[in-house]
């Protein structure tokens, strides 16, 4: 429980720092800290597989690319300037609130659904100490993740990959237009 609080505090703190820091590189670094503490939270609940994936995919791969891009275009603190369009600020708050509400509802719904499915094993297990829940955690193992991802949700998974492919091609086209002699290693 103590470790949980520390990790949660670190996560919230670094999340706030991500959106308040002026220099993009320190934002990115706080985002890495956030990812790592999230991974710690996953591991505390016995989901070691998810925790490892969290670090490998987010902290290890995606954030490296982020930092890469920041370093390459060499953004400095004052490159952003102050945004004068006030309306966007207020709209931003509204959208943030909407997304927060959605997240709360969806999580609540998913929890209910899930606990119906596993006969409320989840909700009680969620707050148990990690040691107790270790041996009964087969729904968080690699097998069950793979089964859900590649059997149950195979169709959404494939659709997402096509979406990502489209995004990559889009990014490629944009990069090409601005700089035709750019090397092709960019998208990797």
């Amino acid at each position: 429980m103590i470790i949980f609080s520390i990790l949660a505090a670190v996560a919230v703190f670094s999340a706030v720092m991500v959106i308040t820091r002026k220099s993009p590189i320190s934002s990115a670094i706080y985002l890495i800290v956030l990812m790592c503490s999230l991974a710690g939270l996953f591991a505390l609940q016995g989901a070691f597989f998810i925790a490892a994936l969290q670090v490998i995919v987010y902290a290890g791969a995606i954030m490296v690319l982020f930092i890469f891009v920041i370093m390459l275009i060499n953004l400095r603190d004052n490159d952003f300037g102050i945004d004068k369009r006030k309306i966007q600020k207020y709209l931003g708050f509204i959208f943030a609130a909407v997304i927060l509400l959605q997240a709360v509802f969806i999580t609540g719904w998913a929890m209910k659904e899930f606990s119906n499915e596993t006969e409320s094993a989840m909700s009680s297990e969620f707050y148990q100490s990690p040691v107790d829940s270790l041996d009964q955690e087969d729904y968080l193992s690699a097998e069950s993740v793979a089964e859900n991802l590649f059997m149950r949700f195979a169709y959404p998974f494939e659709v997402t990959s096509i979406l990502l492919l489209a995004a990559i091609i889009g990014a490629f086209v944009i990069a090409r237009k601005s700089d035709p002699i750019d090397d092709e290693g960019e998208e990797t």
Binding site: C36, F48, A51, A52, G60, L65, I67, F68
Partner: protein, 328 residues
């Protein structure tokens, strides 16, 4: 409970001390072997056979002036070598140096933490180690450092994919992520080693590991003729030596992983398991140094092309073939 905690702390201390000694003496080993390859003698003045050379080097580096370049990010500049060093050391926590051991009625497993996702943990920690290099390159505020950092991080990201693909070949056969379990599966005869079942996976892993540790022939981040010293150009004294130690610690952990996954880890006849493990690791270190002594450096575009157009498809092909054989 208290006994267990003390045991864990003891294990950490012993393995860390062994790693540090290994790091110190692998610099000596490397200089001696390279000297032998080049018909020189190598360090031989400090102590018998020059054996005190690493200690002398360490003392020299400790007392050197540390220096932070002007206009650099002080915090990141200081923390970058620590990140790469800590990441290199953390990997060793899930590598078993031996099987269960009975000492005075206490069963001790010779591994710091037998995680059931051990291999994924290794991949995660090594991917975090890249940040040390990237941040060092960026925070030094020097063009050589920045280019070196960019190069090496691009290289490490590319080859990390191949490392993963190489390891998947073993995982498909072993059906587990736990390294001690994988080592146990290779006990018995030498032909149970995964090296003989997955030779392609081993070569993919080993080549990628060379690139991942920035060793020759993939040591482009440190190409002196182009980049002075790459990402650690601006580093001196203790901070530089931490980078250096991180690099050697990385070599040791990579060798340890290779010997655990492909060469049966602690398994072997007659000698105690720990000795076998150490022998295998030293053998890999020797191969690392041997390659350094004999092969020239790749060009950067060749390196990237090799990684993405040869190793990567080869890794996928290996997985496909393994899957086919497993299914049939």
């Amino acid at each position: 409970m208290i006994v267990e905690s003390i045991l864990i702390i003891l294990k950490v201390v012993v393995i860390f001390a062994a790693l540090m000694t290994g790091v110190a003496y692998s610099t000596y080993f490397e200089r001696k072997v390279v000297a032998f390859i080049q018909h020189r003698i190598g360090p031989n003045m400090t102590g018998p056979f020059g054996l005190l050379q690493p200690i002398a080097d360490a003392i020299k580096l400790l007392f050197k002036e540390t220096f932070i370049p002007n206009m650099s990010d002080r915090f990141l500049f200081t923390i970058a070598p620590m990140i790469s060093f800590v990441a290199a050391c953390m990997t060793l926590a899930v590598i078993p140096v031996g099987d269960w051991l009975n000492i005075g009625g206490q069963r001790i497993q010779l591994i710091i933490s037998d995680l059931n996702v051990g291999i994924l943990y290794i991949l995660a920690v090594t991917s975090l180690g890249i940040y040390g290099i990237i941040l060092a390159g960026w925070s030094s505020n020097s063009k050589y450092s920045l280019l070196g950092g960019l190069r090496s991080s691009a290289q490490m990201i590319s080859y990390e994919v191949s490392i993963g693909l190489g390891i998947v070949g073993v995982l498909m056969l072993s059906q587990t992520f736990s390294i001690s379990e994988i080592v146990r599966q290779q006990s018995g005869s030498i032909f149970n080693w995964y090296f003989f079942k997955q030779p392609v996976a081993f070569f993919i892993y080993f080549i990628s590991a060379l690139a991942e540790t920035n060793r020759n022939p993939f040591d482009l981040p440190e190409a002196e003729s182009e980049l002075v010293a790459g990402y650690h150009t601006e580093y001196a004294g203790m901070r530089f030596s931490i980078f250096f130690m991180g690099e050697y610690a990385n070599m040791i952990t990579v060798s340890a992983i290779a010997s655990s996954l492909f060469f049966g880890g602690w398994n072997g006849p007659f000698l105690p398991p720990v000795i076998w493990f150490v022998i295998k690791v030293i053998m890999f270190m020797f191969i690392f140094i041997w390659i350094r002594g004999t092969l020239p450096r790749f060009r950067y575009d060749q390196l990237m092309r090799f990684g993405w157009l040869i190793l990567f498809p080869l890794g996928i092909l290996n997985i496909l073939i393994t899957a086919l054989i497993l299914v049939l």
